[in-house]
Symmetry: C2
Subunit: 276 residues, 2 copies
Amino acid sequence: MSEGRPAGSGGANDVPERSRAAPGTVYLVGAGPGDPDLLTVRAWRLLRTADVVLHDSLLREAILEDLPPSVEVLDVGKRGEVRTEQSAINDLLVERARAGDAVVRLKGGDPFVFGRGGEEAQHLAAHDVAFEVVPGVSSVLAAPGIAGIPLTHREHASRFTVITGHETPEKDGSSLDWDDIAGQIDRGGTLVILMGVRTLAENVRALRDHGVAADTPAAIVQRATWPRQAVVSGTLEDIVERTREADVKPPATTVVGEVLEVHDEIEDDLCPFEPA
Amino acid sequence: MSEGRPAGSGGANDVPERSRAAPGTVYLVGAGPGDPDLLTVRAWRLLRTADVVLHDSLLREAILEDLPPSVEVLDVGKRGEVRTEQSAINDLLVERARAGDAVVRLKGGDPFVFGRGGEEAQHLAAHDVAFEVVPGVSSVLAAPGIAGIPLTHREHASRFTVITGHETPEKDGSSLDWDDIAGQIDRGGTLVILMGVRTLAENVRALRDHGVAADTPAAIVQRATWPRQAVVSGTLEDIVERTREADVKPPATTVVGEVLEVHDEIEDDLCPFEPA
């Protein structure tokens, strides 16, 4: 078959050699934001040629449909009923690779942006287990993208900064971090906050306290590429209230900055991504 | 056929309805860092069901191999022999969509991170042309990822900032931007510089001038997922010289920050991504 085709009629058997999961190796694979169409071709192929897939809970089931029956699928997510400790996940990765399995560790978004991919890599290296990192489409880019929000734009933003909403503002009593972040927004940068629904009010207050203007545009993209995806936009003045009124639920990605003017300009002709 | 399979034996004809390029619509599609395996499944499918593909020059040819003969492929890149003005690209997108074609505008990395995707979207919206944004794997994440450099890590970095090397330090006579960026690195942030080979020395000097320590780790990833990919690592003190010695060529992605300690710890067991 052609090298360019993810799989031919024979399914997993048609995956080209270089794209097959190898025995004794762990693949730290990014699953993308949710929709199976936003897996990479490499992730799609590795999933179908692995012996075992260990995945997080925040994953759309459609990604795991249609895997060959030879692939064992384990939910090692840290939410929901089955709660697996990080140390247990680490041990399982080593154990299965040492047993000669081709192991896919499937992580939401990109494996090396938040979510402990680096720590899993350290554990594997400490136990001399070969591993590969397979980059994925991070929600950092995907959520703004499908919502029609460019992170950079020649006239509006020449840089962007990414933080996670899980961090508490002024942790350690220091406000220097927020000074830097606020400064970036003031001087033509975009701020992206991952997973910041619950801490949105605190984060907005921190930005305001560090001098970011109340009329700075802000938007929150809920459940990008999942059913019930939605975009709520406003300014730092009213985004908390608007988000509350719209009953925005995690996971969500927040964007702050002047680039949102582009979003307002283009949204009427934007075809929204249609989740599977 | 199964919804989960990018294409069955029939090739383009087997692509499910929701993943097919629609007439009169422009798809701003991220091509990923280079290797065809790092296309998204959605990009792979849209490429095979489009009437016309307009692509940049910085694209691996393997991505365009195996397209059905019905797909017209136009190089509108701004490098090399054929140089197309941005306004001509904009006009062509509108013209082909209005003629009823399903148009894929294929851009390196992610369409909304640098590279004028936002401007193309504005032009389409101004002419009432329907468009969709298809996020891709940006080199921002992919180059560090395949090189074994996490952008965040619980012990080393809780945030990252992305700039482009094309920007001249202290443009407009202001050094405030560099104060912010330097501050972020000092306080546990990672800096990613896209396309910064030619301006590396200037950027390193700007960081040093704004107080970032000489022993701060830095690395440059050359041609991620292309033939002759390479990683050169050092510190702000010696990275310019090391990069010169290794004769690093664009495209390349630079990473500065403490997360590089993780890279040094794990690199022996990292399987490098093997470009097609």
